[in-house]
Amino acid sequence: MTTLSLVLYVISLFSLVGGQIFLKRGMSQLNRRPRRYGPVFAGVGSGTALLTVWFLIWMGLLQKMDISYVYPFQGMGPVLLVLSAMLILRERVDWRTWLGVGLIAAGTVFVAMSPPASGS
């Protein structure tokens, strides 16, 4: 994977995770009483914008590389969530979770080492 593709992928990963979180937060504001639409539009708007960025980058990567090469990198999504929980929410992470993170990291390295484009 080229450096540019890697940078784009990292941006897309943050966009995907962030977009989903903002979208969910925006939608959950609908449950508040009295109902205020400002936060809903802010959440849904920014969430949709980020998800659009993710989609554009994702399709760009798929145009250049195998999906069996690119998709496994999505395993970093749960890793990002776990790290965010640790740093932002200050949650303790148990050994099973670290094992999972390690497995995902090792797996990602293996996939990254394989040739990115082989298919039709």
Partner: protein, 146 residues
């Protein structure tokens, strides 16, 4: 809690078999796989179409492909189906099952898209799938709290 069983403390009527969350969870794995494979087919088809310089980083030309547009439609369908699953099943149970999509997409790419996946890539995919299962509960909990 099996929503298709009769009686019990819940006063809600049991779900018919075709609305069972486990069935829909399996369906979700299938829909997500199909949508990604369709997106890839659309991407490959439009890979050589030039985009304006400032958009060269994006795959925006893929929006001209029927495969990609169908992939988007299936993706939306998968999302709606996922909402149904989450209505009856906790995220921490449903999420690890979706890690199977990694294996399904690789199989689908090999069978339908002609991608050549060596042992190294397969090993990586299996490690990632297993890793997600171990991370699933904290990742799901984190997503709910963030």
């Amino acid at each position: 809690m099996d929503p298709t069983r009769e009686g019990g403390a819940s006063s809600a009527p049991p779900l018919p078999w075709y609305l069972h969350p486990a069935l829909h969870l399996a369906l979700n794995c299938l829909l997500m796989t199909v949508s990604e494979l369709l997106l890839k087919k659309g991407a490959t088809e439009t890979a050589l179409i030039a985009a304006p310089r400032w958009l060269a980083w994006s795959g925006i030309t893929s929006l001209g492909s029927g495969w990609a547009l169908t992939g988007i439609a299936v993706y939306i369908l998968a999302f709606l189906n996922w909402l149904h699953v989450l209505r009856w099943m906790p995220l921490s149970t449903a999420f690890p099952v979706t890690s199977s999509v990694h294996v399904l997409i690789a199989l689908g790419a090999w069978i339908f898209l002609g991608e050549r996946i060596g042992l190294q890539r397969w090993a990586g995919i299996l490690l990632i799938t297993a890793g997600i299962v171990f991370c699933a509960r904290p990742a799901a909990a984190a997503e709910e709290r963030l």
